[in-house]
Every structure is written in C-alpha cells, then in structure tokens.
C-alpha cells in the first residue's frame, strides 16, 4: 500500500469532497438588494441562490423608484457567517445590482410583513377569532356568516403567532407577502 492509503476501487475520492466541515452556527440575515428594474434581473438573483445552493426564506420585490427604474429586493436568507459574506459578495458583483445592504448587520431595522388569513367557524370559535384579531390588531377585510378574512401587518414572528392561534379556530388559508425591511434612523 502507498502512504496515501487509498482503498482499491474506492469511489469515495470524488473531486468534490473538498469542503471541510467548518460547522458554524447558521444565522438569518435580511438583505436589501437594489437592482436595475430590467427583465431577467430577478431571475438572475434567484438563479444565484439556486445555482450556488443558498437558502431563500422569503423574498419580496417591487419597483421603488419609477423614474430611476430601480427595484428593491428584500431577501431573508440563512447561512453561516462565511456563507452570508459570500452571498453578499456574489450579489454585489452582479452587473445589474446597484447596492446590497445587510440589514441584520447595519444596525436596527424595521421588518414588516403583510398577511391575509381566512378563518372559517361559527359560534364560540368565531367570537374567539374576532377577539384575538383585535388583540393582534388584525383588520377584518372580508366577512361572511361563516368566515372572516383578516389582514394583519407585523413581524414574521407576530404573524406566525397569530396563525398558530387561528389554526384551532378554523384557519383555512394564509397568503403572506414576505418581509419588507428598512434600516431604522438615517
């Protein structure tokens, strides 16, 4: 045997087993990516995440500067600090990307998500749902005799909490926008 101790016929010596197990803690980061509003730019950003195996927990996008044709993409992603750095560097080098802000690192930020929840029920459950909605400051935007659609805005945690409470009370469907976020202060 050679000093290398490679087992005969082994197939484990793949060309791709090079990453060491630097297991660090995964963090959630909210990134604001300012891009040129052109066809294909969103696909390019999403393609980066899928192509390089990064996570997307939520993503929102809309044009925010109509005269300058700039869109703001807010991405909530997860990864070790090294992966987050790499995501930001990869985003920054894209030609149609103007700026990348890591709102998680740049100080406190405001994060809001809008959700619509359809809850069906009658009797006590229906009353209970309405009372809880008031506590959570959710608005009723549609009502029938056996259902409500609640609209609420808040952090993803708050929406999760409300949805959890609604589940036993007849929660049928949820639509969520994903996070929009801005840095606090100037």
């Amino acid at each position: 045997m050679s000093a290398l101790n490679i087992k005969k016929g082994s197939t484990s010596h793949s060309a791709y087993d090079l990453r060491s197990g630097l297991s660090e803690v995964e963090e959630s980061h909210t990134l604001a990516v300012i891009v040129e509003n052109e066809p294909g730019v969103l696909a390019r950003v999403i393609g980066l995440f899928s192509g390089r195996g990064y996570n997307i927990d939520s993503l929102t996008v809309a044009e925010v500067d109509h005269t300058g044709h700039r869109s703001r993409i807010t991405i909530v992603t997860r990864g070790t600090p090294a992966v987050i750095d790499q995501i930001e560097a990869q985003l920054r080098r894209m030609v149609p990307v103007h700026a990348v802000h890591d709102l998680t690192m740049e100080g406190p930020s405001v994060q809001r998500e809008l959700a619509l929840l359809k809850v069906a029920g009658t009797g006590a459950a229906r009353v209970e749902a309405l009372q809880l909605a008031e506590i959570f400051r959710a608005n009723v935007v549609d009502s029938t005799l056996e259902s409500f659609v609640f609209e609420m805005t808040g952090t993803p945690d708050k929406i999760d909490a409300f949805a959890e409470l609604m589940r036993p009370l007849g929660l049928l469907e949820i639509a969520r926008t994903g996070v929009a976020a801005l840095k606090r202060g100037v």
């Binding site: 045997m1 050679s2 000093a3 290398l4 490679i6 005969k8 016929g9 082994s10 197939t11 010596h13 793949s14 060309a15 791709y16 087993d17 090079l18 990453r19 060491s20 040129e36 066809p39 294909g40 696909a43 390019r44 393609g47 192509g51 090294a82 750095d85 790499q86 560097a89 990869q90 920054r92 080098r93 030609v95 149609p96 103007h98």
Partner: protein, 581 residues
C-alpha cells in the same frame, strides 16, 4: 450627430466602433439580416466555423492570445444552445467574449416558434450578463454596454440576443461614447493600507511564495512585467496555476513550476510549507488546494483579486486586496521601494535551500523507452525543437494537457490557451484556429489527445478554408487517458468505457480534409517528424502514437493535502500493492 440605420447595420457598426476585426460565426435564419450587412463591408472578417461551439472556442482563443474581446455570431435556437459550452468555459476561465445570437421575431417569442429557444434564460447562469433586445433603439447601446461589461472588472462572456424584427427595424445609432455604462465600474485600485500590511508581512517572511494565476494574464502584459520586477526585487519563489503559465517565465530564476493536482513536487510542498502566501490573481480552485482543511496550514495569506467574491470563498485569507493586479502590484512595488524594504535574507536563503532539495527529487522523471514514444518525451522534444520560436500552444483536456503544462516552458503571457475551470474536451482545436487567425505568422500548436480532438475535429474544415496553418499534435494513446488513470488508481482497474475504439486513420483523415497527415510511432523518427510538421506551410494533423498506459504524475488525489502527493515511484508501489487484493 445621430444616424438612422437598421438594427442589422447597427450591429456591424457597433462592432467596428468597438475595434472588432474578426467575427467567428455560423449563419442561420434569425441572423440573416446581420450576415447581409457583413457581406456588404470589408472591415470585419467573418470566419465561418463548422459548429457553433467551435465559434465560441475560437473567440476564446482569439481573446486569450490578444487580450482583446473575441466575438461570435450565431443563430437562434440550436445556434445559441450550441454556444452554451463555450460560454460556460469562458465564464469559468474569465475570458472576455461577446456572443451575438439571433432570435425569432419579438411577436413570435413564447410561441415555440421554429428555432426558438429561451436564449437569455438558458445562458443566464453561464454569462457574466446577457440581454434580450426588443427595441432597435436600444440595440447599439446594448452592444456597447456588452463590450464594456465583458472587458471590465473580472472579464467574462456576455451575450446579446437580437430578434429578427429588431434587426430589420430602423432607429438612431448610439455611438460607443454616448452609451450608458457609468453604473458598472468595478474597483481596480487596491486599498493602500492593506497593501502596506502585505509589505510588512513580506519584510518579515522567512518562507514566502508568490502564487500567481490567470488574473495576472487577464490584467495585461504590464502585470506580468510587474510580477517579474517583484520577483527580482524580493527573490521570492514564484509558482503558478495552470491558467497563469507564462506570466512569470519558465526560464526565470525564481520559477518553481506549476502547482496543483498535477503540479510540481517542489511547488506544492512550497505552498504547503510557506509562512507567507501571496495569491496574485488566482482563486484557490479545488485543483490547487486539495483538502481545504490542510491547505498550507502555517501560512499568512494575502489575496489580490479584482472579484471580491473570490476572496474568502474557499480559503480564509489574512490580507484581502480587491483590485486589478497591475494597479495593486504598482502600488505594492511603490510602497516596497519607498520604505526601502528588505527581505529576510537568511530566512530566504534557507527557504531556497529547502526548495532546491525538493527540486532534487526530480518529480518529472519518467521511465524512458527506446521502442515506444513516451508522451513526456514527445513533449520534451516538441519543447526543444520549438524553443525560441514565436509559439502559441493550445490544448484539449486530459493527461496531455497536464503533460504539456509540465514539460513545455512558457516565457510570455498570452501564449498558453487551455480550458482550466470547465475542463472542456474539444476546446483546443477551435481555440488554436482562433489564435492563428489573430497571429497569422506565428507557430500555433494544439497539444491534443485523440479523444478530445475528435470532439471538434470538424473545425479542420475551418482551418483549411481560412488557411490557418494550425498544427494538431495528437498524443494518441487510444485511451481516454485521464479517465483510464483514475480508473486504474481509484476504481479497481475497471476500465469502464475508457478505450478510444474504432479510431480513424488520422493521416487519411488529414488527407480527406486536404491537409497534411504525419504518423509517428518510433522515438527515433520523432524529431524529424516534428520538424516536418513545423516546416509544413499549412494545417497538419500529427498522429503521435504514444505509450498507452502512461500515468500523469505527480498527482494529488482529490481530497488530499499537498504533502500527500503521489510521485511516479509511489504509484508503482501503489499498483503492485493493488494487484494483491
């Protein structure tokens, strides 16, 4: 003053304004208006290829040997999809090329029209940037932007998809100087404070190494000149990746040879044992690092790269410097000289002594033969017989490529064109034609393996048509040599589909194309045969029958660190041990 013209004319005008002299391409329905315009002018030469993949590799060969962007023009659908391999190759190796594709008319997009493909969708991950132009008014500006993006920052391939109705319609031409490019201006100046940090580390280093890569070549000839100055002033050893060969001359005093999976023993051990690694325009590719955890464990690392995403991607570095190699080296040398910096002479002397000891192992030694041509011998003779000539080398991918990198010496940048990152078999023949078109008088040799070469052999027709006297030096072992080597070493000698069976007679093939064929199988005839190839005024297919079971060493099996390199002697032991099981 604006000028009205059709989209097709705009394309040709924009190419002229960008200084394009040659376009490699293949016509088809969706680019006919552009071909019509090419027909009506004489400034831009069109090279008709035999397959669109060939066009893109030719553009790459042209770009790498000149430093100017290469241009390819292909039609929609299959024309565009055939370009994908070349685009990906150029993306991995950071080669500036501009590919123009025809597209079905805008009103047909999305209807599954004849020869329709979602070209921008398909090529998005394999271009630095791409555009679908739906309005003739934006066409010329987009082409100018494409050239700017391709050649600025880290170079790369770009693609402009042009629907046929956009080629027919008329609009104002936007000249290059009026095109909006302001937004994409990557940083090229290195941070002076970081460079000062590096200068300090260089003063203290006892076992430094300059680890150079393709970024030095891409940065232009000035970068190579500065690298040579830096090596001369510091007496630091220089190693290079496959991509960076020629930036520092192989005959240079400080040259320790190529590093990496099939790099030299002394280069890899110097990387492993150094205390200061200065990465100049390389990217810690997995073929370089081996097992990341054990990569050069005791060194401080500095990394000069124009692409911030290359830094800390694979290897964490102590001194990151984002910038263009030329500008960073200028500043580095300025600071070094201004401080009156001195290296640690004693440390360096013992470091060189250590390197010389590693060198004495003579890792490129092979068993000579008087009866069969060893591939290493063939390359040694090619090197000896072409030394000092105005020589450009391209390669295919595999064992021959690694042997070429090991046994040929490169004195200047832009003389070595090989598919590094993507490892594209079939690259070398079209690339050699692209190089020859750019340098009609030079000696251009494609060092090939027979299997790779067959992948794009149709381009011999292009070489003949355009009188590109490229020399195809095929090391024919009738095997997919590198696959066979891995199967021998790692897959229990089960040679699954790695024989090149039913090979053509290469001499007859050459005759069929109308060029010269030479066959050589006796080492005694080799020199004369090589000289015959060099002297022949036209394309040559040289069938060099070599030892069939030769392995390429040294070798760091993937996933192993640098100091666990396999030398040829080890391999013999390895193989005999393996037989017992």
């Amino acid at each position: 003053m604006t000028k009205q013209m059709t989209g097709a004319k705009m394309v040709v005008q924009a190419l002229k304004d960008q200084g394009v002299e040659v376009v490699f391409g293949y016509p088809g329905g969706a680019v006919l208006p552009i071909y019509d315009e090419l027909f009506l002018q004489n400034d831009i030469r069109h090279i008709l290829v035999r397959h669109e993949q060939g066009a893109v590799h030719m553009a790459e060969g042209y770009a790498r040997s000149t430093g100017k962007p290469g241009v390819a023009l292909v039609t929609s659908g299959p024309g565009a999809t055939n370009a994908v391999t070349g685009l990906t190759d150029a993306l991995m190796d950071s080669i500036p090329i501009v590919v123009l594709t025809g597209q079905v008319p805008t009103f047909m997009i999305g209807t599954d029209g004849f020869q329709e493909a979602d070209t921008v969708g398909i090529t998005r991950p394999c271009t630095k940037m791409n555009w679908l132009v739906k309005d003739t008014a934006k066409l010329s500006e987009t082409i100018h932007q494409a050239f700017h993006v391709s050649t600025h920052g880290r170079p790369g391939p770009v693609l402009v998809d042009i629907p046929k109705d956009v080629q027919f319609a008329t609009a104002d031409y936007v000249p290059a100087e009026k095109a909006k490019i302001a937004h994409y201006q990557p940083r090229t100046e290195g941070d002076a404070a970081r460079i000062a940090q590096l200068v300090e580390l260089m003063e203290q280093a006892e076992r430094p190494i300059l680890y150079t890569g393709g970024g030095v070549i891409n940065s232009g000839p000035r970068a190579s000149a500065l690298l040579r100055e830096l090596a001369a002033e510091t007496n630091f050893p220089v190693t290079s990746t496959l991509m960076g060969l020629g930036a520092y001359p192989a005959s240079g005093k400080n040259w320790v040879g190529m590093l990496g999976m099939h790099g030299l023993y002394e280069a890899n051990l110097a990387m492993h044992g150094c205390d200061l690694m200065i990465n100049i325009g390389a990217r810690f590719d997995d073929r370089i690092t081996g097992r990341v955890k054990d990569f050069s464990p005791r060194s401080k690392k500095a990394h000069i790269d124009i692409d911030p995403s290359s830094i800390n991607k694979v290897i964490h570095v102590d001194v990151p410097i984002v910038g263009d190699v030329t500008k960073v080296l200028e500043e580095l040398l300025r600071q070094w000289r201004a401080r009156g910096s001195k290296t640690d002479q004693r440390g360096l002397a013992s470091w060189w002594k250590q390197i010389d000891e590693w060198r004495a192992v003579k890792c490129l030694t092979y068993k000579p033969s008087t009866t069969t041509i060893k591939p290493q011998y063939a390359l040694e003779r090619l090197e000896a017989l072409t030394k000092g000539m105005d020589r450009y080398i391209t390669t295919e991918v595999g064992q021959h490529q690694m042997w070429a990198a090991q046994y040929l010496g490169f004195e200047d940048p832009n003389r070595w064109m090989t598919s590094g990152g993507l490892g594209t078999m079939g690259y070398g023949l079209p690339a050699s034609i692209g190089v020859q078109i750019a340098h009609p008088e030079a000696l251009v040799i494609n060092v090939a393996g027979e299997a790779s070469w067959l992948m794009n052999m149709q381009e011999m027709g292009t070489a003949m048509q355009f009188r590109a006297p490229v020399k195809q030096f095929i090391l024919n072992n009738e095997r997919l040599g590198m696959v066979r080597q891995w199967q021998e070493l790692l897959h229990g000698e089960r040679y699954s589909s790695s024989w090149s069976e039913s090979l053509p007679d290469f001499v007859k093939l050459a005759e069929a194309f109308g060029c010269k064929g030479i066959k050589c199988e006796d080492p005694k005839d080799l020199d004369d045969a090589i000289m015959e190839m060099i002297r022949y005024d036209g394309p040559v297919i040289f069938d060099c029958l070599v030892e069939k079971h030769e392995n390429c060493f040294p070798m760091i099996p993937s996933g192993k660190p640098h100091n666990e390199m396999l030398l040829s002697a080890d391999a013999e032991a390895f193989r005999s041990g393996a037989v017992l099981v």
